[in-house]
């Protein structure tokens, strides 16, 4: 992993990877969205609102995956002192927060015609809202720590502590059997019919590629900003 510690070496890979992730993400996400809106049948119970699944599930996955990325970056920083880890953590947070917000809003829009309410203080919904606020806290803390010239250790510890919320989100539908339905897609299969399910992998992979592209772009921006700040400091001496 330390092979990528050199920013020049990292950028050599990150620059073409950004373009490829963007292209693949746009093609797959657009294909999945079009297929989800036009080629699949309405559900016998939910009707047309089942189509919200194709954007809600990828955003839920990415909202949680973003925090897993923050945890991986925090461990790399605290244990191996990887020089790019703090940058990677800070770059992941805005993308994770965006997709957590998309998950909450699309879920709320789906809930109105299906459950008859925009919001319910259900275990899954509440723990996802907590994740969104954790992201906001992480962004504010990382920004404050960076402005003070810190190494980002407090932010990394906050990232590790916030990971407690991930199993709560995952198991919330089992622990508190309230409004949100149980797991419909698992490792052993899915309870959703194949005629409805097939565009979902397209949007999941597509939005994941777009998430990756956004993170890489933010890492590149931070590395360039650091380069400018270092040069300005040298010039001012």
């Amino acid at each position: 992993m330390h092979a990528f510690a050199n920013p020049a070496r990292f950028l050599k890979i990150a620059k073409p990877a950004t373009t490829w992730l963007l292209l693949a993400g746009v093609v797959l996400a657009v294909a999945g969205v079009i297929a989800g809106l036009t080629l699949t049948p309405p559900d016998y119970l939910q009707g047309e609102t089942v189509r919200i699944l194709y954007i809600h599930v990828p955003s839920a996955w990415l909202g949680m995956a973003g925090w897993m990325g923050i945890v991986a970056a925090a461990i790399s920083q605290l244990v191996w002192r990887h020089p790019l880890a703090a940058v990677a953590g800070r770059a992941t947070a805005p993308a994770g927060a965006t997709f957590a917000a998309v998950c909450l809003i699309t879920g709320s829009i789906w809930g109105r015609p299906t459950w008859g309410t925009w919001w319910e203080w259900d275990g899954r919904l509440t723990s996802m809202l907590v994740l969104f606020f954790l992201y906001l806290g992480y962004i504010a803390l990382a920004s404050a720590e960076r402005e003070r010239g810190g190494e980002g250790r407090i932010t990394a510890i906050y990232g590790l502590v916030g990971a407690i919320n991930l199993p709560i989100i995952h198991y919330s539908v089992l622990w508190w059997r309230t409004l949100h339905q149980g797991e419909s897609i698992g490792l052993s299969g899915s309870s959703i019919d194949k005629s409805i399910l097939w565009p979902l992998p397209l949007t999941v992979i597509g939005f994941t590629c777009l998430f990756g592209a956004a993170v890489l772009m933010r890492i590149r921006a931070e590395l360039a900003e650091t380069k400018v700040e270092a040069r300005m400091r040298r010039m001012s001496r």
Binding site: T49, H56, A95, A101, V102, I105, T106, I109, R220, A221
Partner: protein, 42 residues
């Protein structure tokens, strides 16, 4: 009650927020890399 306005609304939110994230990330990257290149040239 027609369900399509809910579907369209959800897709609009997802597309706008994703495009906003990508647009912001791209603009900040281009701005920072242009400033770094400018300093290298000086």
């Amino acid at each position: 009650m027609s369900q399509w306005p809910f579907v369209i609304g959800a897709y609009a939110v997802a597309i706008l927020l994703t495009a906003g994230l990508l647009g912001w990330a791209y603009a900040s990257m281009r701005r920072a890399e242009a400033a770094a290149e400018e300093l290298t040239r000086k």
